[in-house]
């Protein structure tokens, strides 16, 4: 009896007690709706309609038309994610304090995320299309900014920026403002304060923000079809997976492409997080406060 009490106490100290049972419904939910379909998909990718377990993968990488979708998607997602993060920093930096109208400005900057891709795409077509306002104002031949790479790129920026901005703003608000004041009294001008104090403390947050916006951009589908060139320059990897699943009904191949998509995302995230681990990631407060 004493022994079991001691054991329960020791377990409780490690956070193992009856309250843990409350997690069961959530865990079951995750297993049922995420883990099982995921493992099922991975399994499916190793059971192609013909050939050995790896033949779907071999087929994907042997076919340039399929293989190139990885590069096409990276060419869109990496610059878009980078631009979203880089553009968020100065805007969030200006907005980190308290000022009149901050809520209104934040709302305006965040609205695009609530609009959805389709509405954004429609706006882009009307505005930037060959007969859109932008080209009517611009003298000379119309500039092609839709139904190609740039249309998708703009769409990714419009929908991804609010997301990156909100994250960066919250990371910035977590940095003790007296640190910059201290740097100022030590003779640092505004650029030095940003570069030596704020940026190093913000960098881990920027890495995380980059990863999240990259993942969003990498799985781009609607805008690649609507404002892109889905048969050519914006034939992204999700389109390839869609075609396998619903045009050719080759589910194992579609599952293979999905797995490859996940692997590429993980590689990029691993690289970014590897860089992040080299940075200072501790407290961003200036003392015992």
């Amino acid at each position: 009896m004493r022994h079991s009490t001691a054991l329960r106490h020791r377990l409780a100290e490690r956070g193992i007690d009856r309250q843990l049972l409350l997690l069961v419904p959530a865990a079951a939910f995750v297993v049922l709706l995420f883990v099982y379909p995921f493992l099922y998909g991975v399994g499916l990718s190793f059971q192609p309609e013909r050939g050995g377990p790896f033949s779907a993968y071999r087929e994907f990488f042997a076919d340039a038309y399929q293989r190139d979708t990885i590069l096409t998607t990276l060419r869109l997602a990496l610059p878009a994610a980078l631009l979203n993060v880089v553009a968020s920093v100065p805007i969030a930096y200006r907005m980190r304090g308290r000022f009149r109208g901050k809520r209104l400005l934040t709302t305006l900057l965040v609205v695009p995320v609530t609009l959805g891709t389709v509405l954004t795409a429609q706006g882009l077509l009307n505005f930037l299309g060959p007969t859109g306002w932008f080209n009517r104002i611009l003298p000379g031949d119309p500039v092609r900014l839709t139904n190609n790479y740039w249309g998708v790129f703009f769409s990714l920026v419009i929908t991804g920026f609010p997301f990156a901005f909100l994250l960066v703003l919250s990371y910035l608000s977590g940095i003790d403002p007296t640190l910059e004041r201290a740097a100022a009294t030590l003779g640092a001008g505004s650029w030095q304060r940003f570069r030596r104090i704020t940026l190093p403390l913000l960098a881990p947050g920027l890495a995380t923000t980059f990863c999240l916006t990259f993942v969003l951009a990498f799985s781009v589908f609607p805008s690649a079809v609507l404002v892109g060139d889905p048969a050519g320059s914006t034939r992204v990897i999700s389109i390839a997976a869609y075609e396998e699943a619903y045009v050719r009904y080759d589910y194992p191949m579609a599952a293979t492409i999905a797995v490859i998509m996940g692997a590429v995302e993980l590689l990029v995230i691993a690289a970014v997080l590897g860089w992040r681990s080299l940075l200072y990631t501790g407290s961003t407060a200036g003392g015992k406060g």
């Binding site: 740097a183 030590l186 640092a188 001008g189 030095q192 003392g287």
Partner: protein, 354 residues
């Protein structure tokens, strides 16, 4: 920046927030090498004054002059002042050495010079073994010393300290107080020190500035503020715990008779007092004596043990509450009847209006 200057002048420095005047007309001349304490209860404007000096808050009116150079129009990074923040504001991603070297690097000094002066400052605050650590790995007292080293390494014309000891425990606070005094004596840096602790201010400063509601109440040496408060608000803040609201009966030159609530005492007038005026008679607990046979009768209510002494709270028959000190050896107990007297030189009589 540190080349000899003679004095730093604050000329009618004022700062308003909205319609509220947080600091009004602070005028003060600080001589080179002086240690000034800005003292007052919270909300009195002392931190506002410090931030105005540092350049972190723009002034609403007035000017700050270093000899004949106007400083209040310069941004903080061009004033050449060092500042120690209440929460230390150490850069969490830089080592102790990096924190201390930061200001020197901003001045584009040579690498060797930065290293030499950084080492020297770290030695000065006795943190040699901790130089490579990050601030998060240090104790509160060590962090405090880094903050001080970082501010003094630039040999600034003025060091500003914003309640630097308020986050430390009582023992460490005493140690660091001595350390700050020692540093000031060895470096001779002109210092403005903000605190709400009168004992800290008295023990550190050459001169004190007592603020209340943004207005300067008194400027003087520790002895002057301790022994000769200018008004009863200053007396209240400087430890005159007994503030009796009475009426002046007789005023004869250096002595004033005051009475009311069944009390009849003799004190020293401070300021202009006419017979019949309402006054505040102020006396420290340690200047109220328990007397045998003569004096005002009172009943002991609360006794606090303070080691050699006890703090006693007593009440007269008319309900006037009095704080006094007594030797612990006499062992007063709640309920005891005592009689007390006050030395007329120690009872200060202020006009009640100010």
């Amino acid at each position: 920046m540190t080349e000899g200057f003679a004095e730093l002048r604050l000329d009618g420095v004022s700062r308003s927030f909205g319609g509220h005047e947080a600091l009004a007309d602070l005028t003060l001349t600080i001589r080179r090498g002086e240690f000034i304490a800005l003292l007052g209860p919270s909300g009195c404007g002392k931190s506002t004054a410090l931030n105005c000096l540092a350049g972190l808050l723009p002034l609403t009116r007035g000017g700050i002059w270093l000899d004949d150079r106007r400083l209040d129009t310069l941004p903080p990074e061009r004033r050449g002042f060092g500042m120690v923040f209440q929460n230390y504001a150490l850069f969490p991603h830089m080592s102790v050495r990096g924190n201390v070297a930061f200001g020197l690097q901003m001045r584009h000094l040579s690498r060797a010079e930065v290293r030499r002066r950084t080492d020297e400052a770290i030695r000065l605050v006795r943190l040699e073994e901790h130089a490579a650590k990050l601030p998060g790995q240090l104790s509160g007292g060590q962090q405090q010393r880094v903050a001080i080293a970082r501010a003094v390494v630039l040999e600034p014309s003025l060091v500003l300290m914003d309640e630097p000891l308020s986050n430390l425990d009582a023992k460490l606070r005493l140690e660091m107080r001595t350390e700050i005094r020692r540093l000031h004596q060895s470096l001779g840096l002109t210092t403005v020190y903000v605190t709400h602790d009168q004992e800290e201010a008295l023990s550190l400063a050459d001169r004190l500035v007592l603020l209340r509601d943004g207005r300067t109440q008194q400027v003087g040496t520790p002895e002057e503020l301790h022994g000769r408060p200018a008004n009863w608000h200053v007396a209240d803040f400087m430890g005159y715990r007994n503030l009796l609201r009475l009426r002046a009966a007789t005023v004869t030159g250096a002595e004033a008779g005051v009475e009311g609530d069944g009390l009849r005492l003799t004190g020293t007038p401070v300021g202009v007092i006419q017979p019949g005026d309402p006054v505040v008679a102020a006396v420290r607990p340690e200047d109220v004596r328990i007397a045998e046979g003569a004096g005002v009768p009172a009943t002991v209510e609360v006794v606090e043990y303070h080691g050699r002494e006890v703090a006693v709270e007593a009440r007269t028959a008319e309900g006037v509450r009095l704080y006094l000190r007594d030797a612990a050896a006499t062992r007063p107990a709640p309920g005891d009847k005592v009689q007390f007297t006050v030395d007329p030189a120690r009872l200060l009589v202020f006009p009640a209006s100010t």
